[in-house]
C-alpha cells in the first residue's frame, strides 16, 4: 500500500526479504508468527491451576462521599475467598505516576465514575461479579465539577465573546477536589515583547474531545503469592519498575518482594502507564494465598485506564503582511480529570511545544492542567502535543487565508530549522527539516479524482450507499508537527541493558535482557538487531522482560529505541571490549583493527580470524550497563526558558478528503506522510508506526471520542466509541527521511508519536477546504458539517 522508504537521496531501502538482521534491516519480529497465528499469549490468557478471579466494584457516581460499605452479603456467597476495601490496603493508600493522589481503593470520597471501591476474589469470575453486586455502598452524591476552566475559576464560556460564566455556589464549594486546589500545573512560556503588535491578527478558539487509547488487549494480569511473603505479578504494562515502586508503596513491601514480569501486551499507547489491576490483584493474592487473575472486559477497560486530555484552547497569531510570524499568544486548558496521573508532564509538552515547529520571536503561552470529576486523563501517544497541533495548525491555515497566502508557503516561511531557537530558548542542534517535509509532500502526485463507475467503497458512507457522488467535494489539507522524544525537563532518564554472550550448541549466542516493555511496537526486534550489529552474531535471544534487571524507563515518549536501544548498544560495546581484550591476550599483542563479525574476532590487517566459539569455550561474557541520554534541564517557572527536551521528532501530513457536504459524511481518500527518523533501525517497523499513528490521528479528527454527560461516560464500548476501519483508513504514501541526529545512537530519532500528531490536523484542514466551514472542534461529526448539532 505504501511506497518504499526513501532516503533523502531517493535510494530505496529494502523493506522485506532476508537481510543481515542487523541495524537498518527490516528484520522479522520474533513474536510475529505467533501473533499472526493467534498463538501469542496475552495478559488475558494467563492461567494457573487453582487460581482465583478478581473483580473490582466501581463507583457509579462521578463525585460522592462514601458513607458506608457493607461487604457481609458478598463475603457469605459460596465461592468467595476475599472481599477487600481501602482498609485492607496495608501500605500507602494513594499512588500516582507523578503525584501520589489516587486511592488504591476509594477512601471516603469518590472523584470519578468508575473509581475502584472494593475488590472480590472468587473461584469463578461470575461468582466474583455476583459478589461484587452484593456489596452495599451508601453514597452521598455530590454535583460533579465537569469543566476544566470552571474548576480553575476561569470563565467557562469562550473568551472570544468575553462572557463571564457564573461560578455557582455548589461548584465553588466542591471546587477543591483535592486539598491543594484544582490546579495541577500552570506552565508559562514568555519570550520577546510582552505587548507585541502585528499587521495581521488571527484569533481562534478550539476544542479537542477526549480520545481513548482503545488498545485491543484489555488490562490483565496474574498475581502469585510467593513463599517469602512477597508476590510475583505477571502483567501487561508499559513500565515494570514504576509499577513496582507504586505497588511496593501500597503493599508496604520492599522491591525484593514484589517481582514483576511482563505479560503479553495487546497495545498500550500510554493507557498502561498508570496502574490498573496491579495492586488489586496483589492484595487479593496476598490475602487469599492463591494466584489471582484479573482481566477487565471491554466496558470496564474504558473505566480502567486514563484517556487523552480533552483541551480547550484560545490562540492569537500576529504576522506581517508578507507572512512572517510576529507573535503567538495561547491559553491552553487540559482537563486532567479526577487524579493527576501524568497531567504535569502533559502540560509541560502542551505548553513548551504549543505553537508548533515555527520560529516566533514573541511568545506568550499559558497552559493549565485541572482537576475535575471527569475520568482521569494521562498519557496517550502524542502526549499534550496532539491537542495543540489542532489549534496551531488551524491557526496557520486561518492566517494563510487572511493573508491570501498558500498555507504550505506560510508554514515554510516560518519553519524551524537546525539552529533555530524554540520558544523555550532552546537552540535546535540537530536537523529540523520542517520545510523540506512540507515541500516533499507538496511534490507528491495527488490521487486521481473518481470517475466512471462508482465503487461505493470509495465514497463517503461506503457501502451504506448514501451517495453516488452527489454532494461530494474534495479538500486537501496540510499539517506539520513536532514532538519531544524521551523524558524532559531534567528528568533522570535512563535505561539498563544486560547482554550476555556464550556458546550454545557450538554457536555464539547473545542474550539481551532489559525491562523495556514490548507493547506491539517491535522493540524486541530492535534489541536483537542492535545486538547482531554490535556483536557480529546471528543468534540473539530476548530474555523475558522482568524486574531482575534494572529499569528501562517507560515504553512511551517515543523513547525506547533511543534510550533502551542506546543501553543495549552500550552493553554490547562493553561485551565487545572484553572479547577483543581476550583475543589480544590470545594473540599476545594489541591489534588496532580488531572487530567482531560473522561470529568471529577478525582483523583485516593482520588476517586474524578467531571464532568466538573458540575464544569463549564454556565461559560467558556478560555486561550490564545503565545508559543515559544527555541531560535536559528544568524550565524556568516564570518564563518557561530552558533546555527542556533532548530531541525533537518532525513529521508532516497531507490529507485528501472527500466530504458529502449534504450528509456530513467523510471519506479520507489518501494520507501522505513525510517524517524524519534520523535512522530507520527497522524500516518496516517505522512504516508501521507511521501508518498506525496516522490512523489514530485520523480517528480523533473524525470519530473517536469518549462522550461524557455530567461526569458520566455514555459510550463505554466499541459499539459507540468508534475507531477507524479499513474503509476509513486509506492507503498511504510515505517518505522517510534519515537525517542523523549526532547526539543519538546511530543518529536515530524516536518515531512513534510524531505521525499521530500531524495526521489529524491535516484531515481537519482538508475537511475545511472541502466544506468552507471553520470547524473549531474535533472530532468533527456529521452534525457539525450539516448545521444540525
Amino acid at each position: 500500500m505504501s511506497t518504499p522508504t526513501r532516503t533523502p537521496t531517493g535510494a530505496p531501502a529494502h523493506l522485506t526479504g532476508p537481510g543481515s538482521g542487523g541495524v537498518g534491516d527490516s528484520a522479522q519480529r520474533p513474536d510475529g508468527v505467533l501473533k499472526v497465528r493467534g498463538e501469542f499469549a496475552y495478559g488475558s490468557d494467563l492461567w494457573m491451576e487453582d487460581m482465583l478471579w478478581g473483580v473490582t466494584l466501581r463507583s457509579p457516581h462521578p463525585y460522592a462521599r462514601v458513607l458506608a460499605i457493607d461487604t457481609s452479603a458478598a463475603t457469605q456467597l459460596p465461592g468467595v475467598h476475599a472481599v477487600l476495601t481501602s482498609e485492607d490496603v496495608p501500605g500507602e493508600k494513594v499512588y500516582g505516576l507523578e503525584l501520589a493522589d489516587q486511592p488504591v481503593l476509594a477512601v471516603d470520597v469518590v472523584r470519578y465514575q468508575g473509581e475502584p471501591v472494593a475488590l472480590v476474589a472468587a473461584d469463578h469470575p461470575d461468582t466474583a461479579r455476583r459478589a461484587a453486586a452484593l456489596i452495599r455502598v451508601d453514597y452521598e452524591v455530590w454535583e460533579p465539577v465537569t469543566d476544566a476552566r470552571t474548576a480553575l475559576g476561569h470563565p467557562a464560556t469562550d473568551a472570544v465573546h468575553e462572557s463571564d460564566a457564573e461560578v455557582t455556589e455548589l461548584s465553588r464549594e466542591s471546587a477543591h477536589l483535592h486539598p491543594e486546589g484544582n490546579l495541577v500545573r500552570h506552565l508559562k512560556v514568555r519570550t520577546g515583547d510582552p505587548q507585541p503588535t502585528a499587521d495581521v491578527v488571527v484569533v481562534g478558539e478550539y476544542e479537542v474531545g477526549m480520545q481513548d487509547q482503545a488498545f485491543l488487549g484489555p488490562e490483565s494480569g496474574l498475581a502469585v503469592p510467593a513463599d517469602d511473603g512477597g508476590v510475583e505479578l505477571y502483567v501487561a504494562t508499559q513500565w515494570l519498575h514504576v509499577d513496582q515502586r507504586q505497588i511496593c508503596s501500597a503493599l508496604g513491601l520492599p522491591p525484593e518482594q514484589v517481582r514483576l514480569t511482563l505479560a503479553g501486551v495487546g497495545g498500550a499507547f500510554g493507557g498502561r502507564e498508570d496502574l490498573s489491576m496491579h495492586v488489586h490483584a496483589c492484595l487479593l493474592a496476598l490475602r487469599t494465598g492463591k494466584p489471582v487473575k484479573m482481566s477487565y472486559n471491554r466496558e470496564e477497560s474504558f473505566f480502567g485506564h486514563v484517556h487523552r486530555h480533552p483541551a480547550t484552547m484560545r490562540y492569537e497569531h500576529g504576522a506581517t503582511r508578507d507572512g512572517q510570524l510576529v507573535y503567538v499568544k495561547a491559553s491552553i486548558w487540559f482537563d486532567g480529570g479526577a487524579y493527576a496521573s501524568s497531567t504535569p508532564a502533559v502540560v509541560g509538552n502542551g505548553g513548551t511545544m504549543g505553537i508548533g515547529p515555527y520560529v516566533v520571536p514573541n511568545v506568550h503561552v499559558d497552559c493549565y492542567g485541572a482537576y475535575t470529576n471527569n475520568p482521569p486523563c494521562g498519557a496517550m501517544r502524542g502526549f499534550g502535543s496532539v491537542q495543540t497541533a489542532f489549534a496551531y495548525e488551524s491557526q496557520m491555515d486561518a492566517l494563510a487565508a487572511e493573508l491570501g497566502m498558500d498555507p504550505v508557503e506560510l508554514r515554510c516561511r516560518n519553519a524551524m530549522e537546525q539552529g533555530s531557537a524554540t520558544p523555550t530558548g532552546q537552540v535546535i542542534d540537530s536537523p529540523a527539516p520542517v520545510a523540506e517535509l512540507l515541500r516533499r509532500l507538496e511534490a507528491m502526485p495527488l490521487p486521481a479524482e473518481a470517475d466512471g463507475e462508482v465503487d461505493l467503497r470509495d465514497m463517503p458512507g461506503g457501502v451504506s450507499n448514501t451517495t453516488h457522488g452527489e454532494g461530494v467535494r474534495r479538500g486537501v489539507g496540510y499539517a506539520v508537527a513536532y514532538k519531544n522524544v524521551a523524558f524532559s525537563e531534567g528528568y533522570d532518564d535512563y535505561s539498563t541493558a544486560r547482554v550476555r554472550l556464550e556458546v550454545v550448541g557450538g554457536e555464539p549466542t547473545a542474550t539481551v535482557h532489559t525491562a523495556a516493555a514490548e507493547v506491539g511496537q517491535g522493540l524486541v526486534t530492535v534489541e536483537q538487531q542492535i545486538t547482531r550489529t554490535e556483536l557480529g552474531v546471528e543468534q540473539v535471544t530476548v530474555h523475558p522482560k522482568d524486574t531482575t534487571v534494572g529499569s528501562a524507563g517507560s515504553t512511551s515518549a517515543s523513547r525506547q529505541t533511543y534510550v533502551t536501544g542506546g543501553a543495549v548498544k552500550a552493553a554490547c560495546e562493553a561485551v565487545r571490549g572484553q572479547l577483543l581484550a581476550r583475543a589480544e591476550r590470545l594473540v599476545g599483542r594489541s591489534v588496532p583493527d580488531l572487530r567482531l563479525a560473522g561470529g568471529q574476532v577478525v582483523s583485516d590487517a593482520e588476517e586474524i580470524a578467531v571464532p568466538l566459539a573458540d575464544l569463549l569455550g564454556n565461559e560467558a561474557v556478560e555486561e550490564t550497563v545503565q545508559w543515559r541520554h544527555r541531560p535536559t534541564e528544568a524550565i524556568d517557572p516564570e518564563t518557561g526558558q530552558g533546555f527542556a527536551h533532548v530531541q525533537y521528532a518532525f513529521s508532516a501530513h497531507r490529507a485528501v478528503v472527500d466530504v458529502d457536504t449534504e450528509l456530513g459524511l467523510v471519506k479520507v481518500v489518501e494520507m501522505a506522510c513525510t517524517q524524519d527518523v534520523g535512522k530507520a533501525i527497522n524500516p518496516q517497523a517505522v512504516i508501521g508506526q507511521i501508518q498506525g499513528g496516522t490512523a489514530q490521528g485520523l480517528g480523533l479528527a473524525v470519530m473517536e471520542e469518549i462522550l461524557i454527560r455530567d461526569g458520566k461516560v455514555v459510550n463505554p464500548s466499541f459499539t459507540d466509541y468508534l475507531i477507524p476501519t479499513i474503509l476509513d483508513m486509506p492507503p498511504m504514501r510515505v517518505e522517510v527521511l534519515e537525517y542523523a541526529d549526532p547526539h543519538a545512537p546511530y543518529g536515530l530519532r524516536g518515531v512513534g508519536e510524531a505521525p499521530n500528531i500531524s495526521s489529524g490536523p491535516a484531515v481537519l484542514a482538508a475537511i475545511r477546504a472541502a466544506t468552507g466551514l471553520p470547524l473549531a472542534r474535533v472530532p468533527v461529526r456529521p452534525e457539525h458539517l450539516t448545521g444540525t448539532s
Partner: protein
Amino acid sequence: MEFLQPSTWAEALEAKAAHPDAVPIAGGTDVMVGINFGHLRPALLLDLTRVADLREWTTVAGAVRLGAGVSYARVITELGDRLPGLAMAARTIGSPQIRNRGTVGGNLATASPAGDAHPALLAADAVVEVASVRGSRRIPVTDFYTGVKRSAMDADELIAAVHVTPPSGPQQYSKIGTRNAMVIAVAAFGLALHPDRRTVGAALGSAAPTPRRAPAAEEFLAGELDAAGLWESRAELPAATARRFGELVAAASSPIDDVRGTAAYRRHALSVMARRALTWAWTDYRDESRGN
C-alpha cells in the same frame, strides 16, 4: 445455563412451548453480545442452527420464502436479484464475520429500531411467518414491530420465515453511520417502487421507537407518479417531487438525540437519503425500459 439443540422444526417448537423463557440463538450476534454485556442471563438457550429448514429459501407462489436462519452473506450472494432491497441492506450490516453469522430472523426477533433488515422488509411489504405448536400465522411486517425491541410474537412462538415478493420495480437502501463500515445506523431508509400495483414502499430505521413506514410520503409519491402519468411515460422525475418526498419521509420520523446523533441530523439525513434514493430508483426505472 442449559442448552437445547433441536434438530427438527417440530422439536424446536416443542422445546419453545415447553420453555417459553428459553432464548433462541441463531447466529448469536445479538445474543452473545447481550450475554457478554450482562444484559442477558438466559437460564436456557435454544440453539436453532441444527434446524436445516430454517437455513433454506424457496419460492412459493412467486414469493421468496426466506428461512429465518439464512445469513446475510447468503442473502447478498444468492438473492441479490430477487430481493435487491434486502440484499442492499444486508451489505451494510456489520463486517464479513457478522454477515456470515447474522440472520434476518435474528434481526426481526431483536426488533431493534436500528436493525437494518427492517426498512427494506417494510418497503417491500414482507410478511413474517411465525409458528408454535399451536400452528403458524402470518404477520404483515408492518404490524410486526410493536415497541422498542418488541414484536408481535408470542412467548411460545418462533420465526419460521419471512415472505417477500420479488420486486416489480427498483429498490434502494441507504444507511447513515458515523464511520464507513461496521456501524449501527444513525438513520436508515428503504425504498421500493411497485409499478405493478402503482404504489410506493418507503420506510425508515433508527429514527423512531420502531422501524416504520412513511405513509404520507408513499401516498404523495404514488399520487404524483399517477397524476403525471410517470409510471407509463417513465419521464424524468421533477426535482421538486423528489425533494418533497424526502421532506415527507423526514416528517414521518420521530427521532431522539442520543450518542449516535441528534434528532435534527436524523431528520435532515432522512430527507437527503430519501431524495437521493428516489432519484437512483427512478433512474433505474427509466433505464429498465431502455433495456439497460
